[in-house]
């Protein structure tokens, strides 16, 4: 039993790492622009399908490098044309817009690529488990965790040490004052949005290697990411990181005792956190009020 629990905690951390990647992108956009990006799962799908399309020409590694920035460019265009005009309005406007956009992306993908899933093959050496005993730790899953760790580290370095990052953090706290200091807030929001969508695109490429690539893929992955943000604390990137890992482990452990509730448990966690500590585990009080 202890081995089973240990395996599932480890497995939960691996799953949670993936949620973290998705949730960080969502969190960045939410924190600076107050946009609840329902289309985030759609951008994940776009990233996956771009990778699927270009893999025959440039291989898996080329696709891994190229698909996220291409997704970010599409995200940038969407932000410029559709989302920017809504910044001054009630956040419900952008929520509804991205809600509709998610449908459009899903149906558009289905129209272009068909409803049937697409087979995505990963490099053979990554498709092997570490050992018969640790069969659930495959090369690809380790690789995914490594990519997440690198992406998170780079994101934190970006936010801490670069001018763009410092402005994003300042904007998260008080965007009006940042604007009063002469910083181009529109540009700041666009770049921040692009970084968030880059992470969605990266998630899409990684997910396509492990799951079935199909138009609905993003929907099932989006909700855990939202919950990671709420559990971890809105406005806190470290909180998002902790929230993602926590719900991954909770889901994994529940599967041992009550498999049918392994998805429901993350919603229960969210409800408990909202009841007992509404700002989330690491959120700042009043951040979203």
């Amino acid at each position: 039993m202890w081995q089973l629990l240990l395996f599932n905690v480890t497995n939960g951390l691996i799953i949670g790492a993936f949620y973290v990647l998705m949730a960080l992108g969502l969190s960045l956009i939410l924190n600076l622009s107050n946009v609840i990006n329902f289309a985030h799962g759609g951008f994940l799908v776009i990233g996956g399908y771009i990778a699927y399309t270009i893999t025959p020409y440039i291989g898996f590694w080329g696709a891994l490098l190229l698909a996220p920035p291409l997704t970010a460019i599409i995200g940038l265009a969407v932000e410029r044309v559709l989302i920017r005009p809504l910044y001054g309005r009630d956040p419900l406007y952008s929520l509804l817009l991205t809600f509709g956009l998610a449908f459009m992306i899903e149906d558009g993908t289905r129209f272009i690529f068909g409803p049937q899933g697409k087979p995505v093959t990963i490099p053979a050496f990554l498709a092997q488990p570490l050992s018969n005993e640790l069969f659930f730790i495959t090369g690809y899953r380790l690789f995914m965790v490594a990519v997440v760790v690198i992406a998170v580290a780079l994101l934190f370095l970006l936010l801490r040490y670069t001018r763009l990052g410092i402005r994003i953090r300042a904007g998260t706290l008080d965007l009006d004052t940042v604007a009063a200091l002469g910083i181009n807030v529109q540009m700041l929001r666009s770049l921040n949005f692009a970084v968030g969508i880059f992470l969605a695109g990266l998630s899409g490429v990684l997910a396509a290697g492990q799951l079935g690539l199909e138009p609905t893929m993003g929907t099932g992955l989006l909700m855990p990411s939202f919950i990671a943000i709420i559990v971890g604390g809105i406005g806190s990137l470290p909180g998002t990181l902790a929230g993602g890992l926590l719900i991954g482990v909770a889901s994994g452990l529940t599967a041992v005792f009550f498999p049918a509730a392994s998805e429901a448990v993350i919603y229960v966690m969210m409800a408990v956190v909202l009841l007992l500590r509404p700002r989330g585990l690491f959120g700042e009080e009043g951040m979203m009020s």
Partner: protein, 420 residues
Amino acid sequence: MTSHIFNPKLDRRTLIKGAAALGAFQMASPFIIQARGETPIRMGMVDPLTGVYAAPAGNEVMGAKLAVAQMNAKGGILGRQVELLVEDSANDVGTGVQKARKLIERDQVNFMIGDVNSGIAAAIAQVTAEKKILHIVSGGHTDSITGKDCKWNVFRVCNTTRMEANSVSGVLFTKYGKKWHFITPDYAFGHTLYDACTDDLKKLGGSVTGNELTPLGTTDYSAYLIKARAANPDVLILLVQGSDMINCLKQVVQFGLHKQIHVAGTQQELESLASLPPEARIGVWMFEWYWKQPGIAGVEKFVADIRKVNNGNVPTARHWFGYTSAMTFALIANQEKTTDAVKLAAALENFELPDDVKLQPNKVYYRKGDHQLMTSAFVGEAQSKGKDDAEDLFRVDEIVAGDKTAPAVSETGCNVQWPS
């Protein structure tokens, strides 16, 4: 301190409203496919064109559309052209029922086809029975539809879960071993399929090491697979379908579990195998229809006809389900020269499908007593790559007739109540 010009603050209530809307988003229907015309004979079709069963549902619709085109080219039904009105159930029971009611009450359809999802099919059957509409369940497998909840107006083309289990359980037991562990989708289809498999296993003298009930639409199966492996079974039986099957089988192979435990199941579909990378196309399964049947009348033409409308791809069992469902209405209405649902339902009992519709070697007929189509099971093994055709992803070893896999009517629990 701030004027909030740039940053209208988002409160927590808005975020929670957003999260609730996301939940609704997973069930909502994004679009409706509709074909309207002026002809009075209308067939309604409700299938989950979005969600985990979008691919099989789309193929059922494609098969039904081909049937309608062919019947219209031959004069339609009773000399009237036929039109097919398609609605998306979005893989949601409430939506499916609402769409069925809309098709019956507003669009005045004469016949109804659907749904892939067993739960939705059963719910729609309640509506069609209430409204006295002849209804063919094209792809929902749960036993009760032609079992304890059977209805005078409801017929079914696809196999029951009991038929599926009966067709392949013996092969799996003999070939792979007697300790089975299940990964089962947590809804009507999964539950009855699990019951059927475990009944067969018990009769064969085997045992169940565990059953992982997984929510429909599960993306990550690793936790369930860890538990299954710890139970040390001889065979891991996958009962999930659609994108769940793809996600599960892909992870099974990445974990190398197929090298430690036999991996197999009951129902497998070409849509799923085609979506998997070659290394994940493994295991013994049953198909409900297969496109490669040399020498069987009509199959070659059907394959060619579907290729024309399916980007050159071959038909799957789902195409055949949709095609056969729609063709059944035309055949029986033209034979009986009426669209009266009660008369047609009575005439369909023991009605045998002709060669150019049944497209398989054995006798295929709607059994009197439970209205279940006695259709064959194609038992065999998945192939990583087709030899002569890239889409030949399944090697058929045996074609078992439907009346050999179906339990007797008296065992189904069906007791058809006809309207007075």
